[in-house]
Structure formats: C-alpha cells, structure tokens
C-alpha cells in the first residue's frame, strides 16, 4: 500500500532524513521512535507531501504522491498533529465535517454528514456534537481531531505523538481507537515517545537516529538494549510482560544519591 524508497529530505543545507526506506501493508500499525530531532515529524510531513523530498519516492497504491493533487492526497492520507489549537468558535460537528473537505465541491452531501456522524459515534464524541471546539478538554479535543481524520476515510493515518499531552486513561483510549482502525485495514503510522505503548500497540517499529533508520522490525527485534543504547544513549532493561504478552522497557537509572 505504502512504499517509501531512498527518501532524502533536507532543510536548506541541513539533511534531515537520509535514505529512508519503508513499506507498509494494510492493517499495519507502525510506530516511529527515536530521540528528539531525529526526523520523525519530518518523515510524517514528507508522506503528506507538505514537505518535498530532495530525492526518493513515496508511492501510495502504486502512485507517486508528488503526482497527486492536494485533495487526492487528503483522500488517502490523514494526519493527526502533535498539538492542535483552534481558536475559532466552530462546533465539534463543523470541525469533524471538515474531514470531508477533499470530497466536498460546494456543500456537504447527506453521505458526508452520515460519515461524520458515524465517526463521531466511533470516537465517543457524538454527545459533544454541538459543543464549541474552544470549550473542550485536551482528551476530547484529540478525539475530535481523530474523528476528523477518520472522516477523511483515508487509507493511511499518520499520528504525530497523538497522546503525549494526555493523561494515561486518555492515552490508552485514543490508542485503542487507532488500533481498531488499523485492524479494519487502515495503515497507521504513529510517532511515539512512550516505548512501552509502542511495544504494545505496534506490529512494526522504526527506530530513527540523526535522520537514519537504524532498525526496523517487530518490537522484539527493534527494542533491544543495544539498539536503544545507540539511539537514545541510555542503558535500558527489556522485560517481558506476561499479562499483555508484550515487551516492557525500563531505563536503568542510577540510585538518586549518586546523581
């Protein structure tokens, strides 16, 4: 579905991504991890064609995205950004309906409204429908943004640290939502900082450092002490959680009195 080949991206002189190759098939949940400044967000932006690569190609179902119009891309790829702030008093319903923008010519059809309603129900925000977007909590707002992205009915959903500013309950609820979308065939690519959540939710993890992909594979293959040490410069311990049957990563911390 998604094929990225030999991708190079630079801001002026400074090369941010180097020779990135990545492919994704239907239903995959891919986590992108790496330290700050390693190029994670840049990679997402390049997949939406908001940033143009210096070389390399990104293909969606065999079509190069550079050849696609912006609304064609938006039909295929939806984005949930890191921090969203909307200062205008739109209702939740208005904002979610904006997800239909790539399909709407002049005004929204009954089908557009049905899809928006459906997604609001799936993300548990239907009761907020008439609420103003400026009056929502962080967790509610993020759910609205996800509902809007799903309303685009994309093949690929990109998330940039979708839960980093949310409490633990909201983190799990939102990731469950996203996971559900991926099991129904959507490709999900999420930039994540919480390695444990990444290990739990992702089928595949990509580890970036200084713009290079240093490891790709299952959580078990990527989240090894040596990989993490190289990328984050931090010693970790990897454990197995029997209950969830996934990995559990702990940084090895010095006793406090030795800092």
């Amino acid at each position: 579905m998604l094929k990225i080949k030999d991708l190079n991206v630079s801001y002026g002189q400074h090369q941010v991504l180097e020779k990135i190759g990545l492919s994704a098939v239907k239903g995959e949940f891919i986590g992108i991890i790496g330290p700050n400044g390693s190029g994670k967000t840049t990679l997402l932006k390049t997949i939406t064609n908001v940033l143009k690569p210096t070389s390399g190609t990104i293909m969606i179902d065999g079509t190069n995205i550079e050849k696609m119009k912006s609304n064609e891309i938006a039909k295929n790829v939806a984005v949930v950004s890191q921090v969203v702030s909307i200062n205008f008093e739109f209702t939740v319903k208005d904002i979610v309906l904006m997800g239909r923008n790539p399909y709407i010519k002049s005004s929204e059809s009954v089908e557009d409204i049905n899809i928006a309603n459906d997604m609001m129900k799936k993300t548990n925000i239907h009761f907020l429908k008439k609420r103003l977007i400026t009056r929502l909590s962080g967790g509610e707002l993020q759910r609205v943004i996800i509902a809007r992205a799903l309303t685009q009915t994309p093949k690929i959903l990109l998330l940039d640290e979708p839960t980093s500013h949310l409490d633990i309950t909201n983190q799990i609820e939102i990731l469950n939502l996203v996971k559900k979308a991926s099991t129904k065939g959507m490709v999900v690519i999420a930039v994540m900082h919480d390695l444990n959540l990444a290990a739990y939710y992702c089928n595949k993890i990509c580890l970036l450092r200084d713009g290079c992909l240093i490891s790709t594979g299952t959580p078990r293959q990527v989240l090894t002490p040596s990989n993490i040490e190289v990328a984050f410069n931090l010693p970790i311990e990897v454990m197995h959680n029997n209950r969830t049957n996934s990995l559990y990563v702990m940084p090895i911390l010095e006793p406090l009195n030795e800092i």
Partner: protein
C-alpha cells in the same frame, strides 16, 4: 446555529431594503418614505403619480444613486475585510492592510494633479499595488502571511510618502485631502453601475470559497492535510478582495473602519463560519455605510461631512462597547 444564522441573514436583508428606502427619503427636501417607495417602484411597475417631477428627479437621479453607491461600497469593504481577516487569521486585518488604500490614494493624487480620470487611475494603482506586494512576498513558490503583511506595510508607507509629497507640492491640495477622507459626493448612475458589476462579481467569487476559508482557519498546515491547496486559496481570495476593494475605493476614497469592524461585529454575532459570516458582513456593511452617509450629508445644514469621518466617529465607540462586553478573546 445554522438556523439562527439564516434568520440573521433574513433580518439583515430586510433591514437593508428598509434602509435603502428610508435613507433615500431623507434629505434637505422633505419627501415621505411612502412617496419615495412609490417613486422607486414606479420605475418597474405602473403607479399613478402622486408626486411632483422635481421630487422624482431628486429621488431617482440624486439620492438613490448615492444610497446605492454607499450600499455597494459598504458591502465591498466589509466583505473584503471579512475575507482578509479570515485569510490572514489576523484581527487587525482590513481591506487596506496590504497597501491597497495607499496605492489608490496615490492614484487619485496623480489623477487630480494631471487631470486624469480619478476613478480609473486610483483603481489601476490599487490593483498594481497588490500585484507588487504579492510578488515581493513570494518565497520559493509560497506566500508566507507574515511576509505579505510586512511587504504590504512597507510598500504602503512608501506610496503614502509620495502622496504626501504630492499634497505638499500641489497648488490646491484640498481636492486630494477631501478624497482621502472618503466620501460619496460624486455618486451618479454610471459609478453605481460599474461598482455594482465589479463588486457583485467579486463578492460572489469570494462566497464560493467560504468553506475553504473555514478550513484555512485551522492553520495552513492543517488545511493542507485536509486537502486544501493553500497557496491557490490565498491567491484567489487576495485577487477578489483586491478587486472589490479597488472598485469601492476608486469611487469613494478611503473610507476607514467599515472593513475592520463590521466583520468583527458579525463574527461575534454569527460565529466564524464564512458561509454565514460572509453574507452577514456584506449586508451589515451596506446598511452601516448607507446610514452613516445619510448622517454625514444631513447633520449640518450647509455642508456635507466626509462619510469616512463619520464611520469611525460612530463605529469606534460602539465597537469598544462590544469589546468590553465580551471579555473573551476578541478573535475567538
């Protein structure tokens, strides 16, 4: 909200019709609104005349074109202001913000000095100014909003300084100064027709992009993710805002405040959705300028005030009242 919005539009439309009739009736020669309405309708239907021919001339040849011109100019400035505020996401934005008024003013000054047709010259200069500002602001195929604003201010200041120089050197600078204050003194049917055509085209074209402007309010990057061709929208909205602003300024001079405040008041009233905000601003701008112009031409017996003076004198205190009443963020 949508229902509320539609009823607001309906009420504003009704008010506009009432404003046109009553304000055509008001003036130094007393003609009742009923007679006025009859005279106006007699243009299209057969009505037994109960009025004198001089009354008819005053209504149809003097007052009506002036009221209509005021309506079109007000509608244009308010709609363009609304578009610019939405596009630039800047509460300070008005139709003049990227230097158009300075361009038009310089055009008018040159026209007065060289005895060229004022309307055409100021229109052309306003359009040229926007063209220059836009092209200065292009960086790597994109037009960053901040650059556009700053380029507009820089070009505007430069042109304003030339206008000042012309005023300083002119034999009789009064004409130019009066023009700069903004007024509808020179209204006639020719001006109404040209303005009506340009303004109607521009406004209809802007309405077509209501939805895209809504999405743009989420931020340029978000809008791009939602499939909006951001640079295209900027270009489109700028072109048609510039068209209607230039059309308005070239017949009325620089009338301030309408394009800044009316869209704000309407946003407070109907919310940020351009599908309702646009028509509300158009209608309210027209009503506001018709009322203030009537005030300007009738308040003193012997002279007419420039309407540009009156708009701010009345609009500003009212707007300050709204600002204080609503303690939230103005632009939310």
């Amino acid at each position: 909200m949508a229902k509320f919005g539609k009823s607001i539009i309906f009420v504003l439309g009704l008010l506009l019709i009432i404003a046109i009739i009553t304000n055509t009736a008001i003036g130094s020669t007393n003609i009742s609104p009923l007679i006025t309405a009859k005279i106006l309708l007699a243009r299209y239907f057969f009505i037994e005349p109960t009025w004198t021919s001089s009354q008819e001339v005053i209504i149809t040849n003097i007052r009506l074109p002036r009221v209509l011109l005021g309506g079109f100019v007000g509608a244009a400035l308010s709609t363009a202001g609304c578009a610019m505020q939405g596009l630039l996401k800047n509460p300070m934005a008005d139709p003049y913000i990227i230097g158009m008024s300075s361009g038009a003013a310089l055009g008018a000054s040159i026209a007065f000095m060289l005895l060229l047709p004022v309307q055409v010259t100021s229109f052309v200069m306003a359009v040229i100014t926007i063209f220059i500002v836009y092209n200065i602001s292009i960086i790597g195929g994109k037009v960053p909003i901040d650059t556009l604003l700053l380029a507009g201010i820089a070009v505007g200041s430069f042109l304003a300084s030339i206008t000042s120089l012309i005023i300083f050197l002119a034999q009789s600078p009064h004409q130019i100064i009066f023009w700069l204050m903004g007024g509808l003194w020179t209204a006639n049917w020719d001006k109404v027709k040209i303005t009506a055509i340009l303004v109607t085209i521009g406004i209809v074209m802007l309405y077509r992009y209501s939805w895209k402007l809504n999405v743009m309010l989420l931020g340029e990057e978000e809008a791009q993710y939602l499939g909006v061709n951001v640079e295209h929208v900027k270009q489109y909205v700028l072109v048609f805002s510039a068209l209607i602003t230039a059309a308005a300024v070239s017949v009325s001079g620089i009338i301030g405040f309408v394009g800044l405040i009316i869209p704000h008041i309407m946003r407070i009233l109907v919310g940020p959705d351009h599908r309702i905000l646009f028509p509300a601003s158009t209608l309210a701008g027209a009503i506001f300028l018709i009322l203030t112009d009537t005030f300007a031409r009738t308040i003193m017996d012997s002279v007419e005030l420039p309407v540009g003076v009156v708009t701010a004198m009345f609009g500003a205190p009212f707007f300050i009242y709204l600002l204080r009443k609503r303690r939230d963020n103005l632009y939310a």
